[in-house]
């Protein structure tokens, strides 16, 4: 962007921005309504027999790809605007000195809305703990922030409906709250790396950032550029894998492995999920296809939570501040929580 352009956009009036957002939303809904006929028509362009495996797989891919990308854009934009009202510093001020219990709940909920990137996980962890946020409360935040994000919720809503999305939200919060509370009760402050334990820092007195409505809209657009720009390839890969499962994998096979009656499938899903590293974008289209083939929802949700919430790269980053013992406790507690969610879910929704 040239500086002249930049100067012009700085002074563009608020109403133009608001009008632009409104026009975008209207066009979005108009296009979205046409996706089903579009995929029907587009799949007809391929020389495939209707009802064949390849036909079903291609149709799944052609319908899901634009649908998911469009929904994701809308959700990420909305969340980007909402997140401009939050910051880690403000969240920390709300959590510092708060009692366990209430603190864990507040931390998990704030984890959804506070802007968080894994590259800043260590400064955040140290910043929280050194300013007097209890260790267990910090963990509740750290578990909820990556697991319950707008990409996961948006995609679940898009592909599996609001019931599954809300269930994921509720159980994800549950895991974050209870796991953090347990870690707090275990009194493991001594298992932090020494330099973290000994650090006592205050909270910086930042000048209030006065964001205008236009700044918040820009924050939403930035979020779309950054997040959708980063995850679109994952999504397409995930949908391609999902399309393959949808078209080719026989239901009987999946039901026997991931069905409700297979008791060991939940622990297996959690164990397989820990070393696997993907983001929500890549995993959810696969989840959709698995469910369509008769896999049990609890098993699939447990797998998804395990893949997203427990990742090896994140543990490597956290090793800078946590001793190995503490990381092991963290993994064990969260994995048990996810296991419980999987079993409970399969039991309740049987």
């Amino acid at each position: 962007m040239t500086s002249a352009l930049r100067g012009a956009s700085r002074h563009r009036p608020t109403w133009i921005w608001c009008l632009g957002v409104a026009a975008f939303v209207v066009i979005w809904f108009a296009v979205y309504g046409q996706l089903a006929p579009f995929s029907e028509g587009a799949v007809g362009l391929f020389p495939l027999a209707k009802g064949s495996h390849a036909y079903e797989a291609v149709k799944f891919f052609l319908y899901d790809t634009p649908k998911v990308l469009m929904l994701l854009t809308l959700v990420v934009f909305g969340m980007g605007v909402i997140r401009s009202f939050f910051s880690p510093e403000r969240t920390r001020a709300l959590l510092a000195g708060r009692a366990e219990g209430v603190g864990n709940i507040a931390a998990a909920v704030l984890g959804i809305f506070t802007p968080f990137c894994s590259c800043s996980a260590v400064p955040l962890f140290v910043g929280f703990v050194s300013a007097g946020v209890p260790l267990g409360v910090t963990f509740s935040f750290l578990i909820a922030a990556p697991m319950i994000n707008e990409v996961a919720l948006g995609l679940l809503f898009a592909l599996l409906g609001w019931k599954v999305a809300l269930t994921y939200l509720a159980f994800g919060l549950g895991v974050a709250i209870v796991s953090g509370w347990i870690i707090g009760r275990l009194k493991l402050e001594g298992w932090l790396e020494d330099w973290v334990r000994n650090l006592r820092a205050g909270q910086a007195d930042l000048p209030a950032n006065r964001l205008t409505a236009v700044d918040r809209i820009k924050a939403g657009i930035e979020a779309v550029k950054e997040i959708v720009g980063k995850v679109w390839l994952w999504i397409i890969a995930g949908i391609a894998a999902g399309a393959f499962i949808h078209g080719y994998v026989p239901s009987e096979l999946l039901v026997s492995i991931m069905g409700r009656d297979t008791w060991w499938s939940v622990p297996a899903a959690v164990l397989i999920g820990i070393p696997m590293y993907s983001n929500a974008a890549g995993i959810i289209p696969v989840v959709e296809a698995l469910l369509g083939k008769g896999a049990a929802l609890g098993t699939v949700l447990a797998f998804m939570m395990s893949v997203i919430a427990l990742s090896v790269p994140e543990m490597v980053i956290l090793r800078k501040v946590l001793t190995l013992k503490l990381i092991a406790v963290f993994v064990a507690v969260v994995a048990s929580g996810i296991l419980a969610v999987g079993f409970l879910f399969n039991f309740v929704f049987a």
Binding site: R6, E89, P123, A131, K320
Partner: protein, 78 residues
């Protein structure tokens, strides 16, 4: 001469912030000495919880995400 410290473990945004500070200072004709602070303990010592952070002459003015250019100009002129 102003001393500007950019706090951050060396992520892409931290580098971008360093460049923004240099560019804005050059545009305004302000003499600055830009330092990168990458040590986690040192970063936490400034009392921030998100990076990149900006400290100008010992005062924390920004934490988390890229700064706005308008704000940078205000901070550098202060």
């Amino acid at each position: 001469m102003k001393t500007v410290k950019v706090l951050g473990p060396g992520c892409k945004r931290c580098e971008a912030t360093v460049q923004m500070v240099r560019d804005e200072a050059a545009r305004l004709g302000i003499d600055v000495n830009v330092e990168k602070v990458t040590d986690y303990a040192a970063i936490a010592g400034y009392g921030i919880a998100s990076t990149p952070g900006i400290v100008i002459d010992g005062k924390v003015v920004h934490a988390g995400g890229l700064p706005k250019e308008e704000d940078l100009a205000v901070w550098l002129n202060a």
